[in-house]
């Protein structure tokens, strides 16, 4: 298939919400063949695993690239120079550059986002007045999340929707005035942003003793979690605070789980209780696997999440994350990153070595040649 054919087929697939397992498998194999033929590093990766389109009959056997792979491999089927947009991953290459996810067109990404957002977040609403607690797409052109939120505002935001965060950070006075206005308007409102932005806002609200009661039917969408931030919150506490500070029911506080290395996002159906199960639309499938063997892990047991996202057609559709998860009836539960463990013995582990060796290397002016985690 050509790129144009792939794009058209995907847009049709996304538009028809009746595609089942067989259709998913058929399209997954076609896209695998396309990626295998047009992406040499991925082809090498698959050959090393002795898997080619000829030998592959089931999408589950399509080799999943570790997200780490984006750091070292140029994973793109099209000429990297001729893309509409490049999103940068959080992992960095050994030259200090960030991994890149290239999109020859954003039409598929956007169709995927819009369809799933409508289904999982908007429910009965066509449009909602929105407030975004994240920088704009112009401020962060390589952030997939900035694009995602801009798209949400453009496609689903009603009049008065706006960003509540500028280059200078959050203007508290402006934010609180906005929230008061919304409170008085009685119209349902949607507040969207990075999980940690909400923490900042709630910290400030706590400091000045403020809370609001957003109109009935209002919703909150947070994403990103707290990894690498100055503090981590227990999920239960986080949603309890969100609910009490903003007066939004916990079941209307939706968490979105997405990553730069995908073109489709996962959602839960509220956080009345935590952790909540996540699921995605029918052009993405997730499996819980053993990270070392790739073998699927039985339902209820911990493993690492592997996603197969048909919409991520230009890079690779099948990725192996570093997120631990468990399969449940209505999707999967995200357990956070499967952090490398501290070595149980007295032998040094890579992480500890890098941590100490970096300090040493500064003294001895000697580089480290070893894999590192993002």
């Amino acid at each position: 298939m050509t790129e144009a054919e792939i794009i058209k087929t995907l847009l049709d697939f996304i538009a028809s919400d009746c595609a089942g397992d067989e259709e998913f498998n058929a399209l997954a194999l076609k896209i695998f063949d396309y990626q295998f033929q047009n992406n040499l590093p991925y082809q090498l990766f698959c050959r090393q695993r002795e898997q080619t389109p000829r030998t592959t009959k089931n999408w589950r056997d399509i080799p999943a690239v570790p997200i780490n792979g984006y750091k070292d491999l140029c994973l793109s089927c099209c000429d990297p120079k001729s893309v509409e947009r490049t999103f940068m991953t959080s992992g960095t290459t050994k030259d200090g550059l960030r991994g890149q996810c290239r999109h020859p067109t954003l039409s598929v990404y956007d169709a995927s986002m819009v369809a799933a957002f409508r289904q999982y977040f908007m429910e009965e609403h066509e449009r909602l007045r929105m407030g975004i607690l994240f920088p704009t797409e112009q401020a962060m052109p390589n952030s997939s999340l900035a694009h995602y939120l801009a798209l949400a505002l453009k496609e689903f935001g009603s009049e008065g929707s706006r960003y509540l965060l500028s280059n200078d950070g959050i203007d508290w006075k402006e934010l609180f005035t906005e929230l008061e206005q919304v409170e008085q308007s009685g119209e349902p409102y949607a507040l969207l942003g990075a999980s940690f932005s909400f923490v900042h806002v709630m910290d400030e609200m706590a400091r000045v003793g403020k809370s609001v009661s957003l109109p009935e039917g209002s919703r909150i969408l947070d994403t990103g979690g707290f990894k690498g931030q100055s503090r981590e919150l227990e999920l239960d506490n986080f949603y309890e605070s969100l609910s009490s500070r903003f007066g939004v029911l916990r079941e209307d506080c939706i968490n979105m789980y997405g990553m730069t290395e995908l073109s489709t996002q996962f959602y839960d159906s509220g956080n009345a209780s935590c952790p909540s199960a996540k699921s995605g639309p029918n052009w993405v499938r997730s499996r819980i696997v053993n990270p070392l063997t790739g073998a699927e892990i039985q339902k209820g047991e911990r493993g690492v999440l592997a996603h197969h996202d048909l919409a991520h057609f230009n890079c690779v559709s099948s990725i192996l994350t570093e997120d631990a998860g468990v399969e449940v009836d209505d999707g999967f539960i995200l357990l956070g990153r499967a952090e490398g463990v501290e070595a149980k013995g007295c032998s040094m582990a890579v992480d500890e070595f890098l941590k100490v060796a970096k300090g040493e290397a500064c003294d001895t002016n000697c580089g480290i040649s070893s894999g590192s985690k993002s």
Binding site: P41, L44, F45, Q48, P66, N68, G69, D72, L73, N290, P291, L292, T293, R302, G303, V304, E322, A324, A338, E339, G340, V341, E342, A343, K344, G345, C346, S347, M348, A349, V350, E352, F353, K355, V356, A357, E360, A361, T364, C366, G367, I368, S369, S370, G371, K373
Partner: protein
């Protein structure tokens, strides 16, 4: 059945809070109850142990202590002994290591603590071990006697069965009272050993206690550190930094950090007949306790221009690891451990895309993995759990430059080379910080009396009391026979 860890002389089990550690390995669940003492109990225990050490142990001749330890070790070596049988049954269940590997490992490890070996151990550090019993003349003049601390605190770590015995036996040899904190990964061996000692010599048993707290419980830790005269601690840099920070300034704190070890093979060992055996020995060092020891190899530097090429040697090691998997299967990894191995393996695989000469070998179940590099690379840790890097070097003399940046982490080097090469390399390696050189296949079995991380196991524990020559001479003036 619930096993009980810990050994607390003078404390009745009813007075103590117990916690249960649960181990799930290979579908079998084993529960171990561990004691969790209050601050006051740690204080009381410390005071009792100090008293017992002062009143009994300090007066016990070293030869007696040797006999008691030897007798305990003898029982542990006897496969019909109930303690040994428990060790063979439960250590594989809680650590996950293959039971045959544990059995063989226990024997080879324990026999280094027989009486004859302990004597060697003593004479490594003391020219005249009687200095631990009474004042002995010193070469510089005067007399000296070595005293162990009244209370030596051990903070153990890790899941390699029996490792705590090293420092515990060292403590006994210098007549120290001992309180040891076992690791949650292997809380049993030290506890059993203490009980065995107490069965043989109950009063010596009163000089040892074995307890537990959850790693990071700074309150329990502080209580013990406040009482100790000397601290020996094992773990990663962060843990040890914290222990050192909490140790009172007047108390010495000896820390053993995590280390990286590696192997070297000279072209003289790479003829077609010898190379297979060398690869077998290298693989054995990788397999033993799944590279969890500080002496376990992560990397092998292989010299070029031998009859067997470095790449072929890597394949030999791979093949031997595959064989070992049948004989001593690797323990089941947790998801986090599997993730570490996977990340290392992926990083190595990605390198092969841009370098035709490198290769990654492994089995489909991920139970072992060998990554080969044709070009010299600096030392770096492997993904552990039977993963190793084989690096081709033009000559072994190039290796010191590849390891010298990491001086602080180096420990053992396993070498297969001719006598001339061995001695030449020893000089080069010693300079960059290597503290132990062994034969391959022996990397994980240090000999009795070895100097752990290059330090003196016993000398580091003692303080000397010296009677200077001046005191002797001046005393003469006050004797009843003075003219």
């Amino acid at each position: 059945m619930i096993l009980t860890a810990g050994y607390l002389p003078g404390l009745s089990p009813d007075e103590v809070e117990w916690q249960t550690l649960t181990f799930n390995r290979g579908g079998e669940q084993t529960e171990v109850s561990v004691p969790l003492l209050t601050d006051d109990q740690i204080k009381e225990l410390s005071s009792d142990i100090k008293k017992a050490s002062r009143h009994y142990l300090k007066g016990l001749p070293v030869s007696e202590i040797l006999r008691t330890i030897d007798s305990a070790i003898c029982q542990f070596l006897d496969r019909s002994n109930p303690y040994r049988q428990q060790a063979e049954k439960y250590l594989p269940r809680i650590t996950g290591y293959d039971s045959e590997m544990v059995r063989l490992g226990l024997t080879s490890y324990l026999k280094t603590f027989r009486q004859s070996e302990l004597r060697r151990f003593l004479s490594e550090d003391f020219f005249n071990p009687k200095i631990l019993d009474e004042f002995q003349p010193l070469p510089k003049g005067g007399y000296g006697r070595a005293y162990g601390p009244d209370l030596l605190a051990h903070i153990w770590a890790g899941n390699v069965p029996g490792l705590p015995l090293w420092s515990l036996i060292s403590g006994l040899l210098v007549k120290a009272g001992n309180i040891g904190k076992v690791s949650s990964f292997e809380p049993l061996m030290a506890s059993w050993f203490a009980r065995l000692i107490a069965e043989i010599d109950p009063r010596l048993g009163e000089c040892i206690a074995v307890t537990w707290w959850k790693g990071g419980d700074t309150e329990c830790q502080q209580a013990l550190l406040n009482q100790a005269d000397l601290v020996v601690a094992y773990g990663n840099n962060d843990t040890l930094q914290q222990i050192r920070d909490y140790t009172p300034i007047t108390t010495r704190c000896l820390t053993y950090t995590h280390k990286v070890s590696f192997g070297m093979v000279s072209k003289s060992a790479l003829d077609p007949i010898k190379a297979w055996n060398v690869a077998h020995q290298a693989a054995y060092d990788i397999v033993r306790y799944d590279q969890q020891g500080c002496y376990s190899p992560h990397v092998f530097f292989i010299e070029e221009n031998g009859a067997v090429s470095p790449k072929q040697f890597a394949q030999y090691v791979a093949s031997e690891l595959d064989n070992f998997q049948k004989k001593f299967p690797r323990r089941t990894l947790t998801i986090e451990e599997a993730q570490d191995v996977a990340l290392w393996k992926q990083t190595e695989e990605v390198k092969t895309f841009s370098d035709d000469c490198s290769a990654v070998m492994g089995d489909t179940d991920g139970t072992w993995c060998v990554s080969f590099s044709e070009t010299p690379e600096n030392l770096s840790p492997s993904g552990l759990n039977r993963t190793a890097k084989v690096i081709s070097v033009q000559q072994l003399d190039d290796v010191p430059a590849l390891i010298s940046p990491y001086k602080a982490f180096l420990q053992t080097v396993g070498i297969a080379a001719s006598p001339e090469e061995l001695h030449r390399l020893a000089c080069l390696l010693g300079v960059v910080g290597v503290t132990r050189i062994s034969a391959l296949e022996h990397m994980t079995v240090p000999e009795a009396g070895w100097h752990h991380d290059g330090r003196f196991n016993l000398l580091d524990l003692i303080t000397m009391t010296e009677v200077e020559r001046s005191a002797e001479i001046s005393a003469e003036a006050f004797s009843n026979y003075v003219d």
